[in-house]
């Protein structure tokens, strides 16, 4: 199409102007959204450093006139946060290890070994994918408290949530995609099945394993309902449940509650800041079922 040079010039100009306006609008929108995302964190931090008299003040102030570090000391003495941390760490690490290890073994069997009943068993796993945790929660609670006598123990916090069909499904999808020739070649060289799993399949599945690890660790670290149901004393409480119990005791001491929230969030947010790409990739990969 023949366009007059002048008209073409004008078109390019208006387009550039429109692009410019568009990108400014974009930045404004993103900034407004960021404010909405960050504001709760800032408000939490601000409140956690205020003296009680400055909390209930109108208009509210963002920067306390006197920084009350004592709030943190009071919070730490009011509740055994060190113990909550320890519990959360023990539970999340063991639960993630069990989850990933058991799922990697099972997924390998489903994806790369042939045995009788493989497909029906895999279907059984798949069938439970849609059943919400709340259905199995009550029998699990009875199993824990009545049958196994695990109520208020680490085992109760760790085991019932470590065997999700989802993680097996996720890894199986990944393992199926690796070429079968790898196994066959290794077998001809005399490698055992365990060795193939450990030295060929697992090293090739780094991204999937990392994704599942991050996904389960985060899920376990932030898990609330199950630890709420199976713990009763501060010795066994994880951070979310401990924080919730704290709320029950100090429901208007906002400076302390916010200090507690900050204490609960700092480690996760610090790790997240360092490895944000890993987090986002991990969540994306496992969120999309490994596709």
């Amino acid at each position: 199409m023949a366009v007059e040079p002048l008209a073409g010039e004008q078109m390019r100009l208006t387009r550039r102007v429109r692009r410019r306006i568009g990108s400014i609008a974009l930045q404004v929108g993103l900034l407004a959204g960021s404010f909405f995302m960050v504001m709760p964190f800032l408000w939490m931090l601000s409140t956690s450093l205020k003296l009680p008299k400055e909390i209930f003040k109108y208009p509210p102030i963002w920067i306390p006139t006197e920084i009350a570090w004592s709030n943190y000391k009071d919070t730490l003495t009011a509740l055994p946060f060190d113990r909550f941390y320890l519990n959360s760490a023990i539970v999340s690490v063991s639960s993630t290890l069990i989850q990933v290890l058991a799922a990697a073994l099972a997924a390998f069997a489903f994806a790369r070994l042939r045995f009788k009943g493989r497909n029906p068993l895999f279907l059984l796993y798949l069938a439970t994918l849609m059943i919400p945790f709340q259905v199995t929660m009550i029998p699990n609670f009875i199993l824990i408290s009545r049958v196994l006598d695990w109520y208020n123990t680490y085992q109760a916090l760790i085991f019932p949530t470590s065997f999700s069909a989802f993680s097996v499904f996720l890894l199986r999808q990944f393992f199926v995609g690796l070429p079968m020739e790898l196994d066959e070649a290794a077998r001809m060289d005399g490698a055992s099945t365990l060795r193939i799993w450990w030295q060929i399949i697992l090293p090739l599945s780094g991204p999937a394993l990392a994704a599942l690890s991050i996904f389960s660790f985060l899920g376990s670290w932030n898990s609330f309902l199950w630890p709420l149901v199976v713990t009763t004393s501060n010795e066994m409480r994880t951070i979310p449940v401990g924080l919730s119990a704290f709320q029950g005791e100090h429901n208007t001491a906002w400076n302390l509650l916010m200090a507690g929230s900050v204490i609960a969030l700092v480690p996760v947010l610090a790790v997240y800041m360092v490895g944000q790409n890993w987090f986002q990739r991990g969540i994306t990969l496992s969120g999309m079922g490994g596709r």
């Binding site: 489903f110 070994l113 077998r187």
Partner: protein
């Protein structure tokens, strides 16, 4: 399989192995399967059996047949309240979540300044413990001293418009939107990263071709981007809907299911039945009804997807 081995000469090691796979398969499966049977399969069956009983853990349980189910639907106003609330949360949270996540993803899918910082910020609440998030939102929504009320008072002062902050968390009409806001804040980063992955998979050639044809950016969005990411939208819709149906943590920490049961969700009602009323049979019944709803909605969405989800290949993968 085993027939590969010929009787006359022992087959080579790697061939003989095929026969061993039978037991090896189960060995590899064992740790997972043991846990799966004990903590998933048996509990699923047990939950079904429990839902036919009346049991407080103390006394021996009493078989009541379908009475729990009948009572739930015939004479349990709280259940209908919880069902209504859950549906309210689903129909508000899911579309808002998708729209907001897509908007942010579209904005971040371009070469703009500060991309990494924005990604960091929008995703931050996803890794945040929901209890801490709910606590700070409870404080933000505080009727007298919360920051939101202060903003409204300020508007009142500055403009003279006689607006007054509502009683947010103690007013049934406002408590539910407050919970919606909390979940939006918490999860929009998740929707964003999934959408970003979807957007980045769209071939650039499509946009180039459209640009040559003179399509405006609005039309490119409407006729290329939205159809191309519809599988992602479908996936997110299902995931978010299942999540919304299971809403509990937010309502437990921020409003304790109140005021006047305005934020009592189905899962909250499961919790209350089991761990406050000690009605474990009834709690199982409610949990199964929850499953039925999730199943029905997912099934419906799956049936309807061919009307609007665009797949590149024939088999729908």
């Amino acid at each position: 399989m085993a027939s590969d081995a010929s009787p006359s000469r022992p087959p080579p090691r790697w061939r003989r192995w095929r026969a061993d796979q039978q037991s090896e398969g189960y060995l590899f499966l064992l740790p997972s399967l043991a846990g799966f049977i004990l903590f998933v399969l048996i509990p699923v069956v047990a939950a079904l059996v429990l839902s036919l009983y009346e049991w407080s853990l103390l006394s021996p349980g009493e078989y009541v047949g379908l009475t729990n189910y009948l009572n739930l639907f015939r004479r349990d106003p709280t259940f209908f309240k919880a069902l209504g609330n859950t549906l309210y949360f689903t129909v508000t949270i899911v579309p808002l979540q998708l729209a907001a996540g897509l908007a942010v993803a579209l904005a971040l899918n371009q070469a703009i300044k500060g991309l990494a910082v924005y990604r960091l910020i929008y995703f931050m609440p996803v890794v945040t413990t929901i209890v801490a998030g709910a606590l700070v939102f409870q404080w933000i929504f505080n009727k007298d001293f919360g920051i939101l009320s202060a903003v409204i008072w300020r508007i009142n002062e500055l403009t003279g418009i006689p607006v007054q902050p509502p009683d947010w968390l103690t007013d049934p009409a406002w408590a539910r939107p407050a919970v919606v806001m909390l979940t939006l804040w918490k999860n929009v980063g998740f929707t964003m990263v999934i959408y970003l992955a979807g957007l980045q998979a769209i071939p650039v050639e499509l946009y180039d071709a459209a640009e040559v044809d003179g399509a405006t950016s609005w039309r490119r969005l409407l006729y290329i981007t939205l159809p191309m990411i519809s599988p992602t939208t479908f996936f997110l819709m299902v995931i978010q809907m299942i999540g919304a149906f299971q809403l509990f943590d937010e309502a437990f920490v921020m409003t304790r299911g109140g005021p006047a049961q305005a934020t009592t969700t189905i899962v909250y009602y499961v919790y209350v039945n089991a761990f406050e009323y000690r009605r474990f049979g009834m709690a199982s019944t409610v949990a199964w009804v929850l499953f039925a709803f999730i199943f029905a909605f997912t099934f419906l969405q799956n049936r309807m997807q061919h009307r609007w989800v665009h797949y590149e290949t024939e088999d729908g993968r």
